[in-house]
Amino acid sequence: MGHYYLRRTARMFVTVFLVASLSFGLIRLLPGGPFSLLRANLLRQGVPASEVDARIANLQNIRPDAPLWEQYADYMLAAGQGDFGTSIALGEPVSRIIAQAVPWTVFIVLVSTVLIFVFGILLGAIQAYWEGSRFDQLVSGVSVTLMSVPFYVVAVLALFVFAYQFGWFPTAGTVGVGVETGVNMAFFTSALHHAALPIFSYTITGIGGQALAMRGNSIQVLGNDYVEVARLRGLSDSRIATRYVARNAILPLYTGFLLLLGFRLGGTVILEQIFSYPGLGYYMWSALESNDYPLMMGTFLVITVALVIGVYIADLTYGMIDPRISRGESDAY
């Protein structure tokens, strides 16, 4: 048993290492130097060309001209210590920017994913229980419809209706102006208020797929002998529904949960843009727009590491949740 955890942990580090290397290489592929956009922007603002060049020359504190392998070594060594360099566009350490952005993104992604699961599982289980009923058909129809709506469409509409038209929710930002960050009611309320729409649009579009999956799994489980036997043994419906059906139906969804988390993390690039919500995706996008290599690599890597850790946790815990998987060979996803 023990060796499995060891091996799995080693594999996680190797994956992170490879992904870090890959992201380094990928970002080197990007067109245009890191300063071409800055240059153009300054020129456009009417700053004379000579001054622009002078200003940019003064910014060359990174080593874009060093041999690639040296840049790579620098990058990997620093990244290993949590140092992703200084953002070209923002002039701040990337790690600091990420540190302030991560909690917001994690908050939105985690909350919406959990909500998707809770509601999806509930709906799917009820549908399976009343398979073929009008409720089942209705929810199935709604689920399929919701599945065919991209989350950003919902996001844009929700923003328009609930924020701009009705003014029920703020249109941008993570907390209200002047709200002190800290453990206090005002902060939490404000944070929730700001996150409500992003979470809503992420959640509503995800529930459908989850409900359908849960419904399918549950119907399959309901066909198993042990459910019939449990019924014959006189177990109450609720006991059968939770311990015999739901649990076995949820298991296959479990790994999907973490994969979904990954998809959601990636999706924040669009979501946070729409809601002007300065999380990881927001900064990743702005970094991309300004060819801010360090910030881009940093956000990319952090999203990736989050995903790798998620899968890692899934792998480690799946064996505990599903006794059938002997840990030595569990590859959860």
Partner: protein, 374 residues
């Protein structure tokens, strides 16, 4: 065709068709970093078995679940690579042949050794109609015959195995067949390869009792027609006896990776030498009214020991009612049962009756040692 070559090459005829020589199949459980220095968990599924199969021979292997009879069967037909010993097909090591180290073509060896599985449910590809399943072996053995001819052959063979109207059955999917019909198709599929040996791995166990004789009869009929040998694996001694006796072959009794008794069915049934054979015989239902009343089993424990750590000495000693102290230390060899009747035709190996039990040696130290108390 291998058969054609055999006649040309008279020398190889002296060799048995298949010879298992001291075959071992040990499965090692996967080891991790932390367990590198521990002894690995090894399942000794087959542990030092030698057995030969002649042309047109029948070998029935019996034993309870987990005794290694299926592993041995698969090793014999080259599906399982032995971890020790050798499997020789007409004198050439199969696995050497696969590696290209002999003058035989592995393709020929492969097609000569076929299998029929236990579970009718999974023996046929659910997505292919019967005709497609049966076309596969013909495509392999006769790559250049026309589609029409292929279909012709399939139909006539289907009729031969009793599935009429053939064109109707041919166009069905497996789920439209009963278990017995599926097994017939599996048999037909194996036969279309023109094999020398077919492993029937519990091929009739999943069928209704009433269908078993029919299926066995069919296999035996086709055996003589095709000049095929059978390795018949079963947990049911009466089936093994029926098959082996009709096929004029032997029954081998296996226990935890060892062959404990082998011999002609009539003698093995009538005069079982190994206590475990007695157990199997006890377990076989008998319709004779006086025998229907269940008696206590001639063994001390119901469950077979964990094959990962098989008992020392004679592996049966933990359950054997006759076990004595010696049995826990020494492992008996499979030896000719010294019986006057048997020794007369000793030359014919297929008729010999061999057993691995100290009790067959009248002057063994076993008789001196003390009985085991549970």
């Amino acid at each position: 065709m291998s058969r054609a070559r055999d006649t040309a090459d008279a020398e190889t005829d002296a060799e048995p068709l298949i010879a298992a020589e001291d075959v071992e199949v040990h499965f090692e459980k996967e080891q991790g970093i932390l367990e590198l220095f521990d002894d690995p968990d090894v399942v000794k599924a087959v542990d030092g078995i030698s057995v030969a199969i002649e042309e047109n021979d029948v070998l029935a292997l019996v034993g309870e679940s987990g005794c290694g009879k299926t592993t041995l069967g698969k090793t014999i037909i080259g599906l399982q690579q032995p971890t020790g010993g050798a499997i020789k097909y007409r004198g050439r090591d199969i696995w050497e042949t696969k590696a290209g180290n002999t003058d035989l073509s592995f393709k020929d060896v492969r097609s000569s050794l076929q299998i029929i599985h236990q579970d009718p449910g999974s023996s046929l590809n659910p997505n292919r109609r019967i005709v497609e399943t049966l076309a596969e072996p013909i495509r392999l053995t006769h790559p250049d015959i026309t589609a029409g001819e292929r279909r012709e052959r399939i139909h006539s063979l289907l009729e031969r195995v009793g599935m009429t109207p053939a064109h109707d059955f041919a166009s069905r999917y497996p789920h439209q067949l009963s278990g017995g019909e599926k097994q017939r198709v599996a048999l037909a599929r194996a036969l279309l390869m023109n094999p020398d040996v077919i492993l029937a791995d519990e091929a009739i166990s999943a069928l209704d009792v009433s269908l078993r004789v029919e299926m066995m009869d069919l296999m035996l009929d086709l055996q003589s027609e095709f000049n095929t040998s059978f390795v018949f694996v079963s947990h049911d001694l009466s089936n093994a006896r029926y098959f082996a006796e009709h096929g004029d072959g032997r029954v081998g009794v296996m226990y935890l990776g060892n062959l404990v008794e082998v011999g002609p069915p009539e003698r093995l049934i009538a005069d079982p030498q190994h206590p475990y054979t007695e157990v199997l015989r006890w377990a076989t239902p008998n319709l004779s009214l006086d025998a229907t009343e269940a008696s206590d089993p001639p063994m001390r424990k119901i469950d077979i020991p964990d094959p990962v750590n098989p008992p020392s000495g004679c592996r049966f000693h933990t359950r054997c009612p006759e076990a004595r102290e010696t049995c826990t230390r020494l492992q008996p060899e499979l030896e000719e049962f010294s019986d006057l009747e048997a020794s007369s035709d000793r030359a014919d190996s297929s008729r010999s009756h061999r057993v691995a039990c100290f009790r067959s040696e009248p002057d063994h130290q076993y008789w001196e040692s003390s009985a085991i108390e549970d």
